[in-house]
Symmetry: C2
Subunit: 145 residues, 2 copies
DNA sequence: TAGTTTTGGGACAAAATTGTCTTAAATATA
DNA sequence: TATATTTAAGACAATTTTGTCCCAAAACTA
């Protein structure tokens, strides 16, 4: 049951890593993140560029440059990231791929799937990067194989 | 939120179509299904071949040949199909893609995701092709754009 | 100013998924 | 037996996703 593309998975892991570095101030370099999390530097860079373009991150070039969250981590939610990286229709797709599947013209699994999506969206709406970062900092949860 | 590959989506739609043809006896040709559901004939054929190889369908060649469910539609569940087309580890994957993510070494979203997967699996375990086929027969639900 | 570090952006390659086509094998019918 | 119908199987192409590489632009440091 694969729900997120690799680009999104890497982006999320990287953002949670940033959020987990609580006390730290200033920019974090993409090189550091990619090393720590074992993610391809260039691939992550591209994902981060779209996050920057969409206001999730701000970046700064040069020595001591890098990226930083534009808001405190407790104000950035999974839904925000997923909307940018997977599209705003992420929680709005038919399980059987039918375009325009809805209450008026539903597929046979519409009712169940609608509920499942809502539960998922609810969780994503209420889970912040800060919350996930803390779990990593407290060391009971991991971000890397 | 895309969960199933196109191969699985097409396969499922086709199977539900077969189940929806209640009174019918004998084989249904792949050509008929692909026409009715607007699915590429050759692509569907390949998916059906793997379903045949895994005992979900039986096939018969020649005039009046086609495919048929190996069991009554009320004894075939979504989980059966998904296990064949997506793999038996379908309900067992980490949202963040970490290999071996589990209670002992969880990712930060493990608890939520585990529950979500269980809910999903529970629904798939208990939804039969017959149930979905009926919904289509009764005409309140659709399988095609 | 020159050199180093870092992101930005594009070209490009590899791999996986999706889709098309051709031929063979099995079966029925005339 | 010859022909038509249907699935089986594999080659192949197109598309999307994933991954790599190179060079430019921005910023710091000496």
């Amino acid at each position: 049951m694969r729900v997120l593309s690799k680009a999104t998975v890497y982006g999320l892991r990287a953002l949670v890593y940033m959020a987990s570095e609580r006390e730290r101030t200033g920019y974090v370099s993409i090189g550091e993140i990619s090393e720590r999390l074992n993610i391809s530097f260039h691939f992550l860079t591209k994902t981060f560029q779209t996050l920057t373009q969409h206001g999730i991150l701000e970046s700064y070039r040069g020595p001591n440059g890098g990226v930083a969250l534009t808001k405190p981590a407790d104000q950035l939610f999974l839904t925000d990231i997923v909307h940018v990286l997977e599209g705003v229709d992420f929680f709005d797709k038919c399980l059987l791929g039918l375009p325009g599947c809805g209450t008026f013209a539903p597929c046979p699994v519409h009712d169940f799937w609608k509920a499942a999506k809502e539960a998922m969206k609810n969780e994503f709406d209420n889970t912040s990067l800060a919350e996930l970062g803390e779990k990593v900092t407290d060391d009971r949860f991991r971000l890397v194989a």
